[in-house]
Symmetry: C2
Subunit: 201 residues, 2 copies
């Protein structure tokens, strides 16, 4: 039988989300369409507001609601170091651990020949500009401990080791193949405290 | 650190969905806010359209985009039987099997003292009206094989047994493709109690 068109479309849109399969998308759509407590309008408004308000921070590439993100706007953050992550959500994960007080930079991914992602697709130009401005004493590479994250860390080391005295990599306190998103603050704290020198100098 | 307000609100709305925990809600919100391929506006529009268009079918309680749902509108459906389910999504699950060609009725839940749901909260008045109109020879109770579903099936049987000649309950047993090893004792008990003759004699 044919589903009503708007229900079908809602299922299609929900199924595009990561980790939501077709069966889950159906379940969520039926919930939103029929459950008395469900509020599809509230979720729609939240989506529209987010789409409208949120944009990449022009400095670090994180999530901002204006020109700069709250962290780049925060004058109390230490200025001598930049911690580099793959995704914007990783910034919030690191912040939750409370161990780091410096600057961030969001690459927007990692180098992956498999997925056809090369350095040109990453948010590198603004990182280079920030480093060229001077004053960065340490670049902390907090890309994921995966093949792609490692490759990206090596690439960044090659690119910046003539410009930054100290390039470090977060410690392997996390299992290889893991994702920063699912690390608990304690593990992250260990990983950041145990960072090791990554360039040969 | 504080998340941008619209991102925070999006996480809150997503976390209200069933099976979506706080961590998943965060992940989905960040995806929607930052992934280049994500389209929060499309999902928002789909939600608004669904909220606008979809309503309960005035006859069966299923999902309709007009007065009646596509199934109640379908004159080719057999008229002598009503299959009763708890939720609107269950109608589509039964339809996918292709085994049933009659009418449906959606209760909108099951009797559950634990959740404070009694018969008065279920879509029973219109079921009674449909039965009182006459012509229903069989009422098939396809509520879930749970405590609540069983209680509801018993309640419906008491309520309608003077009016409907044949009230049936869907069979319980091993699911197709299941493994005895992982079947719970209740399922196995029902599967053995409900065994059918297998040889042709």
């Amino acid at each position: 039988m044919k589903l009503p068109a708007s229900l079908h479309r809602l299922i299609e849109e929900l199924a595009k989300l990561p980790t939501i399969g077709r069966k889950s998308a159906k379940r969520l759509a039926f919930h939103l369409a029929t459950a008395p407590k469900a509020d599809p309008n509230a979720l729609a408004q939240a989506l529209l507001a987010a789409a409208m308000e949120l944009r990449p921070c022009t400095q670090c590439g994180g999530i901002a609601s204006g020109e700069l993100c709250p962290l780049c706007n925060d004058k109390s953050r230490l200025e001598g170091s930049i911690l580099v992550v793959e995704e914007a959500r990783n910034v919030f994960t690191v912040e939750e651990s409370g161990i780091y007080k410096g600057q961030y930079h969001v690459l927007g991914g990692a180098i992956s020949p498999m997925k056809g992602i090369g350095p040109s697709q990453l948010n590198l130009k603004s990182l280079e500009a920030r480093i060229d401005q001077g004053g960065i004493e340490e670049l902390i590479l907090a890309t994921n401990p995966t093949l792609e994250g490692e490759a990206t860390a090596h690439y960044l080391t090659d690119l910046f080791q003539s410009k930054v005295a100290r390039i470090t990599r977060i410690a392997r306190g996390m299992p290889t193949g893991g994702d920063l998103e699912y690390a608990d603050p304690g593990t992250l704290t260990r990983a950041i405290e145990g960072r090791t020198r990554f360039n040969s100098a």
